[in-house]
C-alpha cells in the first residue's frame, strides 16, 4: 500500500527522492482522514521550502489542512492538475496527485523521515488511540 521508494513524515506527507530532486505529496491515510478534497493551495516555482514548515493547504468540504514540507529546498515544479481537479488527491494521492517537486538543499534531512514500514506501523498506532 505504501510505496517502499517513498519516505514519510509524521504529518502524513511523502517524498520520493532521486539524487537531489524530490517529489512531495500527501499519503493515502491523509486523504482518507480529510474526506472529499475540494481545493488545494500550492506555492509557486522558485518559492523556498523549509523542513517541517507549511508550504500549502489542502481543503476538504469541512476543513483546511496545512501541508508541511519534509525537506528544505526550492520548488522546481507544481502540479497544475490540482487546480481544476483537486479530487484526484482522493483517488491517486501517491501518483498523479503529487503536490510539488523540490530541489533539496540538504539531503541529510531525509535520515529523519520514516520508511514505508515505519509509516505503516505509525498509522496503526495512531488508529489505536
Amino acid at each position: 500500500m505504501y510505496p517502499d521508494e517513498f519516505q514519510y513524515t509524521k504529518d502524513h506527507e511523502w517524498i520520493q527522492v532521486d539524487e537531489d530532486t524530490g517529489t512531495i505529496g500527501i499519503t493515502d491515510h491523509a486523504q482518507k482522514e480529510l474526506g472529499d478534497i475540494v481545493y488545494v493551495e500550492l506555492p509557486k516555482i522558485g518559492d523556498p521550502l523549509a523542513a517541517s514548515e507549511t508550504f500549502g493547504t489542502v481543503e476538504s468540504v469541512k476543513a483546511v489542512s496545512e501541508v508541511y514540507s519534509p525537506v528544505t529546498g526550492e520548488v522546481t515544479g507544481v502540479n497544475g492538475k490540482l487546480q481544476n481537479h483537486p479530487e484526484i488527491l482522493n483517488t491517486d494521492p501517491h501518483g498523479s496527485a503529487w503536490l510539488v517537486r523540490v530541489h533539496l538543499s540538504d539531503p541529510k534531512e531525509l535520515e529523519k523521515l520514516m520508511s514505508a514500514e515505519e509509516y505503516e506501523a505509525y498509522i496503526q498506532e495512531d488508529k489505536a488511540h
Binding site: G35, D36, V38, Y39, E41, T57, E59, S60, V61, K62, V64, Q83, H129
Partner: protein, 369 residues
C-alpha cells in the same frame, strides 16, 4: 491524548450503528456524533436528489405544560405561541432582554396546555435553566431530552419512503405540523420539519427503539437512494438553504433583526423579553446585517475569515463552505447595514490572499415545490 470519551462526550443510542457503518466520528455540542459516512458531498447530493436519514438524537427536548405554559412561552419566545393550533409547530427563539437569542428552537403544541420544544444540543441545559429561572407563574417545565431519540428523514423521496412504514396520512401532514404516529411499529411524535431545505420529517421516540427505526427506514428506502447522512452534510445543506446556526449567525450579541429573523418576531403579540430592543431597532436601525455571499475567484470562505470592503475590514464570515449542490463556494457574513446589498463586491481574507466575493440574496437554494 484526550478523546471525546475522556472529555465526557455523550453518545446517542445509535452510536454502535454509526461505528459499524464506518462513520467518521467527532465531538459536537458535547456529543460524539457521525460527521460523515460515504462522504459529505455524496451525502449532501443524496438529500437533494433522493433522501437522507440523520441521527439528530443529540438535540434537546423541553416540555412546558399547564395553564401557565402559554403565558410563560409568550414571554420568553419571539414568535406568537397563541397562533399555534394543537399539533402545529413554529420556528422561534428563546430571548435575552438584549433582543438576542438564548437559542433558536421549534415550538410544537401537543395539547391544550402542552408544548414541546426542540432545542440545540449545545444549549439544552442553558435553555432549560433559562426557562426554569423565568417560571414565576409555576408552569410544569421538564427537560425530557433523555426520553427521546430523534431521527430526521429529508429529501424529495422522504414522504414516499416513510409512507411504506407508517399508517399516518402523510398527504394531510402539512409543513410545520406534527402528530402522534407509529413509524416502523414504534410510537412517537412525527413532525414535518427539518433543517435541510427539502421536504422531510423528524421523528421523536423512545431511545430503546433507535436501532429498529433506523434500520427499518434504511432498509425500506435503500432502493430509492436513501443514505445515512452525518453532521458535515447537515451543515452544508442548511447553509445552502440559508438557515442560521447558533454560535455562528446567532449569539448573545446579535439581535434577531440583525440575523434576518424579523419574520419570527411578532412584536404585536404583546410583551416579551427583548421586545423593546427590537422595537427600537425597527425605528432606528440595526448595528449589523447578515448577508449571503458567493466567491467570485477560487477560494473557500470559512467561519471567522475577515470581510473587506473598500480597503477596510468591515466584518467576518459566520459560516462558509463549498456548496455541493450549487457547485460554488458560499457563506454568510455580518457587514455594516450601509454596506449590505445584493451584487455588492467584497474581499474575503483567506490566509495571505484577498479573494473577490459578492453579496447574493438569500436563500442560496430553494427547493422546487
Amino acid at each position: 491524548m484526550a478523546t471525546p470519551e475522556t472529555r465526557g462526550a455523550k453518545r446517542t443510542a445509535l452510536y454502535a450503528i454509526h461505528k459499524a457503518a464506518g462513520a467518521k466520528m467527532a465531538e459536537f455540542g458535547g456529543w460524539e456524533m457521525p460527521i460523515e459516512y460515504a462522504g459529505i458531498t455524496q451525502e449532501h447530493l443524496a438529500v437533494r436528489n433522493a433522501a437522507g436519514i440523520f441521527d439528530v438524537s443529540h438535540m434537546g427536548e423541553i416540555s412546558v405544560r399547564g395553564p401557565q405554559a402559554l403565558g410563560l412561552l409568550q414571554e420568553l419566545t419571539s414568535n406568537d405561541v397563541a397562533r399555534l393550533k394543537v399539533f402545529q409547530a413554529q420556528y422561534s427563539a428563546l430571548m435575552y432582554p438584549e433582543g438576542s437569542a438564548v437559542d433558536d428552537c421549534v415550538v410544537h403544541r401537543l395539547g391544550e396546555d402542552h408544548y414541546f420544544i426542540c432545542v440545540n444540543a449545545a444549549n439544552t441545559d442553558k435553555d432549560f435553566e433559562w426557562i426554569v429561572a423565568h417560571n414565576k407563574a409555576g408552569a410544569e417545565v421538564q427537560n425530557v431530552s433523555s426520553q427521546y431519540s430523534q431521527i430526521a428523514l429529508q429529501g424529495p423521496r422522504a414522504a414516499d419512503i416513510l409512507s411504506k412504514v407508517t399508517g399516518f396520512d402523510l398527504a394531510s401532514l402539512r409543513y410545520y405540523w406534527c402528530g402522534d404516529a407509529q413509524c416502523c411499529g414504534v410510537k412517537g411524535l412525527l413532525a414535518r420539519t427539518g433543517y435541510t431545505g427539502e421536504d422531510g420529517f423528524e421523528f421523536y421516540f423512545a431511545p430503546e427503539n433507535s436501532e429498529r427505526v433506523w434500520n427499518a427506514l434504511l432498509e425500506t428506502g435503500r432502493d430509492e437512494g436513501l443514505q445515512p447522512v452525518g453532521l458535515g452534510a447537515r451543515n452544508t445543506l442548511r447553509l445552502e438553504a440559508g438557515y442560521p446556526l447558533y454560535g455562528h449567525e446567532l449569539d448573545q450579541d446579535t439581535t434577531l433583526l440583525e440575523a434576518n429573523l424579523g419574520w419570527i418576531c411578532k412584536l404585536d403579540k404583546g410583551e416579551f423579553l427583548g421586545r423593546n430592543v427590537l422595537q427600537k431597532q425597527l425605528e432606528e436601525g440595526v448595528r449589523k446585517k447578515l448577508v449571503g455571499l458567493e466567491m467570485l475567484e477560487p477560494g473557500i470562505a470559512r467561519d471567522g475569515y475577515p470581510v473587506w470592503m473598500e480597503s477596510q475590514k468591515v466584518g467576518q464570515v459566520t459560516s462558509g463552505s463549498p456548496a455541493p449542490f450549487l457547485k460554488k463556494n458560499i457563506g454568510l457574513a455580518f457587514v455594516p447595514p450601509a454596506a449590505a446589498g445584493a451584487g455588492r463586491e467584497m474581499k474575503i481574507e483567506i490566509r495571505t490572499r484577498q479573494v473577490r466575493a459578492r453579496q447574493v440574496p438569500l436563500p442560496f437554494y430553494k427547493r422546487q415545490k
